[in-house]
C-alpha cells in the first residue's frame, strides 16, 4: 500500500507539556483514516504539524511524497485543511470567502468555479449572506467546500461534524466518501463512533501516543477484549455492582442493556456468574469500537501514570 502520509517519530511540546510523543502517522493513499482520541490527546496538534502550521520538535517522513519538514510550501498547495473551529471570515459573504480562497490559490476560471461550488452546496441563493450568519451545519459545509476548492490530494479534517445534526452529518460523510472515491486521501479526526466505523482505517491516540491503528476490525481484534451483553429489565443497573469487580475492565449501559468487558475470559465469567440468572439474558458479543476505545482510554491512563 502506498501512503499519502508516512511520518514517524513526531514530537511536539508546548512549554514542558509533551503533547505529541513519538507518534507515527500513516495514511493510505485514497483512504479515509479516522483519527480518534480523547480531548487534549493531540489530534489537532498532529494535523497542524502535518500541514505545516506547527513546527514539530522532531520527526521525519513524507507527506504526498515530499519531505514534510522541508517542503511545507509545496505540501500546502496540495493539502486542504478544515480547522476544528470555523476559520473563514465571518464578516465576508459566502461568495466572497470562496472567491478569496480561489484567488489565493490562483485557481483558473474563478467565477465559474465559485458558482459551481455554490451550486453544489445549494447556497447559490444565499451567496451574499455573511458567513457568520450561517447555522453551524452550513458553516461546516462551507468550510469543507472552501477546503477542497483547489482539488487537494490530501484533505485534513479536524472534527468536521461537531455539533451537526444527523442528516447533515450523513450528507457530509457521503461527500467525504465521494471525494475519496475520486482519489483524495482523507484524514479526519472525530469523537463519533459511527463516524469511526465509516472510516477505512483508524488511528487511536491518547496522551499524544499512538495506542491502536488498523481497520475497525483489526483494532477490535487487537484489543483482546471480550464482551458480554446482558438484557432484561433493569440490566443496565447492574453496571454499578459490576464495575470494579475483579476481571471487569469496564461495565457500561447501552440503553436498557449492559456491556461488560474484560481481557481475561475466566475472570470475566466469574465476575458475571452471580448475575447469570433470570430475568437477565446474557450473550457474548463482539465488542464495539466504543467498548474498545473506552477500554483503551482507561488502559493508557494507567500506562501514563
Amino acid at each position: 500500500m502506498t501512503f499519502a502520509v508516512d511520518v514517524t517519530g513526531l514530537n511536539k511540546s508546548f512549554g514542558d507539556k509533551h503533547v505529541v510523543q513519538d507518534l507515527a502517522v500513516q495514511v493510505g493513499a485514497g483512504k479515509i483514516t479516522g483519527f480518534l482520541g480523547p480531548n487534549g490527546s493531540g489530534k489537532t496538534t498532529t494535523l497542524r504539524m502535518l500541514c505545516g502550521l506547527l513546527t514539530p520538535d522532531s520527526g521525519e517522513g513524507e507527506v504526498l511524497g515530499l519531505d514534510f519538514r522541508k517542503a511545507a510550501g509545496q505540501i500546502k498547495l496540495q493539502t486542504g485543511y478544515m480547522t476544528q473551529r470555523f476559520s473563514l471570515y465571518e464578516d465576508l459573504s459566502i461568495e466572497e470567502n470562496l472567491t478569496f480562497v480561489a484567488r489565493v490559490y490562483g485557481l483558473p476560471d474563478r467565477g465559474r468555479l465559485v458558482t459551481q461550488t455554490l451550486e453544489r452546496l445549494g447556497l447559490e441563493n444565499r451567496r451574499r449572506q455573511l458567513a457568520g450568519s450561517l447555522s453551524g451545519g452550513w458553516k461546516q459545509r462551507l468550510a469543507l467546500a472552501a477546503a477542497i476548492m483547489h482539488s487537494p490530494r490530501l484533505l485534513l479534517l479536524d472534527e468536521p461534524t461537531a455539533g451537526v445534526d444527523p442528516k447533515a452529518r450523513r450528507e457530509f460523510w457521503d461527500e467525504i466518501h465521494a471525494l475519496a472515491a475520486e482519489g483524495m486521501t482523507v484524514m479526519v479526526s472525530t469523537h463519533y463512533m459511527d463516524e469511526a466505523e465509516r472510516c477505512h482505517d483508524i488511528a487511536y491516540i491518547a496522551y499524544g501516543r499512538l495506542i491502536a491503528r488498523g481497520t475497525g476490525r483489526e483494532v477490535i481484534e487487537g484489543s483482546g477484549l471480550i464482551t458480554f451483553r446482558a438484557e432484561g429489565p433493569g440490566a443496565d443497573r447492574l453496571s454499578r455492582q459490576l464495575a470494579g469487580a475483579p476481571g471487569v475492565a469496564m461495565a457500561a449501559p447501552f440503553g436498557a442493556a449492559l456491556h461488560v468487558s474484560g481481557t481475561e475470559r475466566a475472570a470475566l465469567e466469574a465476575a458475571i456468574a452471580p448475575f447469570r440468572r433470570p430475568p437477565f439474558h446474557w450473550d457474548e458479543v463482539e465488542p464495539t469500537l466504543e467498548d474498545v476505545f473506552i477500554h483503551l482510554m482507561g488502559q493508557s491512563r494507567d500506562n501514563f501514570e
Binding site: C51, L77, S87, R103
Partner: protein, 374 residues
C-alpha cells in the same frame, strides 16, 4: 511574490473594512473631531494675559506707552513691581505671563531720539499663548506716543519710531506660531489611526481563528502585509486630504508650497505607520495588547515630537528620544513644506529618516511575522 495573492488579500481587507461601520466612522470622523478639538483648543488667541510692570521712569511718556499696551487687549497689568527682583519673581512663580520694564532713561532717550527701549519678557513655556500678544506689540512704537510728541519734541517723531520694544522669551527660546499646531495634528492623527488599524487587523485574525486558515494557504508573509496595508494607505491619504482641507478652510493655515516633498513625506509616513502597526501585531497576542502597544507608541509621539512642546525647548535626553520617533521627522516635513515652502533640498534629512523608518519597520515585521501558529 504573487500579485494575484496580494490582490486577494487586498480585496478581502477592503471588503472587511467596508463591513465594519464603526471603523469606517472612526476613520473619517476621528480626524475631524480631533482637528476641531485640538485646533480650536490650542489655536485660540488668548487675550487679557496677566502682566507685571516695573516703571523706572515715572513720566507722561511711560504712562502713555503703558496705556497703549493695555489698549491692545492682550495685556492686563495686574502688578506693579518696585524692583527688578520682584518682577522676575512674579514671572518665576507663574503669576504673570509677561513683564514690562520701562527703563529710567526712557523719556530722555525718546526726546533725544537716542534708541529708547522698553523691555518685554514673555513666559514662552506656553508659546501659543504668547505668540499673538507679542505680535501685537509690533505696531506699538509708531502709535503709542503720537499725541505726546508735539511742539519742542516733535522732531523726535520724524522717520524712525521713537522707541523699540525688545522682547525676550524666557524658558523656551523657540517661538511657535499658533498655526504650527494644525499641520502637527496631521502627524498625530495619522499615527493614531493608522498604527492602530493594522495592529488590530492582524491580531483580529488570530483572535477570530481565521489566521489558521490563512496560514494553511500558500499566501506568503510579504503578500499578507502588502495586501493588508494597501487599503489603509488609501485611508491615510483620505485623512490627509480632509485634514489639510480643514486646516486651510477653518484655520487659515498658510500653504506656502512644498507639495512634492509633502507628498513623498506623507506617503513614507503612512506606509511606515501601517507597517509599524503590522509589526506590533506580530508581538501582541490579543487586540487589547495591540491597542495598548499603539497607545504606548502614540503618547511619546505627541509629547516628544515637537507637536506639543517646541522640540528645542526640550532637554537633551528628550530630544534624543524625539529624534528616533518618526512623527518628529514627519512634522518637520509638514511644517517645513506648508509653512515655509521648503523643498527636497532642505528636507532631505527628514525624508531620509522617514525612509529608514519604513525600511527598518518592514524588515522587522517580516522577520517577526510567524508563518506557523507556534
Amino acid at each position: 511574490m504573487s500579485a494575484a495573492r496580494i490582490f486577494a488579500v487586498m480585496v478581502k481587507e477592503f471588503t472587511q473594512l467596508t463591513r465594519d461601520r464603526l471603523t469606517y466612522a472612526l476613520i473619517l470622523v476621528m480626524p475631524i473631531v480631533q482637528l476641531l478639538l485640538f485646533g480650536y483648543a490650542i489655536n485660540n488667541d488668548p487675550h487679557h494675559l496677566p502682566t507685571a510692570v516695573l516703571i523706572q521712569d515715572d513720566s507722561a511718556f511711560a504712562r502713555s506707552t503703558l496705556g497703549a499696551i493695555a489698549h491692545t487687549d492682550y495685556f492686563d497689568i495686574v502688578e506693579t513691581a518696585r524692583t527688578p527682583a520682584e518682577l522676575t519673581q512674579a514671572m518665576a512663580r507663574g503669576r504673570v505671563q509677561f513683564t514690562i520694564t520701562i527703563p529710567g532713561d526712557f523719556t530722555r532717550r525718546v526726546v533725544r531720539g537716542d534708541r529708547a527701549q522698553i523691555l518685554v519678557e514673555a513666559d514662552a513655556s506656553d508659546p501659543s499663548a504668547t505668540g499673538a500678544a507679542v505680535a501685537a506689540l509690533a505696531g506699538l512704537p509708531q502709535e503709542a506716543l503720537k499725541r505726546d510728541l508735539l511742539g519742542a519734541v516733535a522732531p523726535a517723531r520724524a522717520a524712525a519710531p521713537p522707541f523699540e520694544v525688545v522682547v525676550h522669551r524666557r524658558y523656551n527660546p523657540e517661538a511657535i506660531a499658533a498655526y504650527n499646531i494644525v499641520p502637527g495634528l496631521l502627524g498625530v492623527i495619522l499615527s493614531m489611526t493608522l498604527v492602530m488599524m493594522t495592529a488590530l487587523g492582524v491580531t483580529r485574525e488570530y483572535e477570530r481563528g481565521t489566521m489558521e486558515s490563512l496560514l494553511a494557504t500558500p499566501v506568503k508573509p510579504i503578500e499578507v502585509m502588502i495586501g493588508k496595508l494597501a487599503p489603509y494607505v488609501l485611508v491615510g491619504l483620505i485623512q490627509t486630504v480632509v485634514i489639510l482641507a480643514l486646516a486651510r478652510v477653518l484655520f487659515d493655515v498658510p500653504m506656502a508650497g512644498g507639495w512634492g516633498v509633502l507628498s513623498v513625506g506623507t506617503m513614507l509616513f503612512i506606509v511606515g505607520s501601517l507597517a509599524l502597526g503590522f509589526l506590533l501585531s506580530t508581538v501582541a497576542r490579543t487586540q487589547l495588547q495591540a491597542m495598548q502597544m499603539s497607545v504606548f507608541y502614540i503618547l511619546p509621539s505627541i509629547l516628544l515630537s515637537g507637536f506639543m512642546f517646541p522640540f528645542r525647548g526640550m532637554p537633551d535626553w528628550a530630544q534624543w528620544i524625539g529624534t528616533i520617533i518618526p512623527v518628529t521627522h514627519f512634522l518637520r516635513v509638514v511644517r517645513g513644506a506648508l509653512l515655509k515652502g521648503l523643498g527636497f533640498a532642505d528636507l532631505w534629512q527628514s525624508l531620509g529618516a522617514l525612509s529608514l523608518f519604513v525600511v527598518v519597520v518592514v524588515s522587522l515585521a517580516m522577520a517577526r511575522y510567524r508563518t506557523t501558529l507556534d
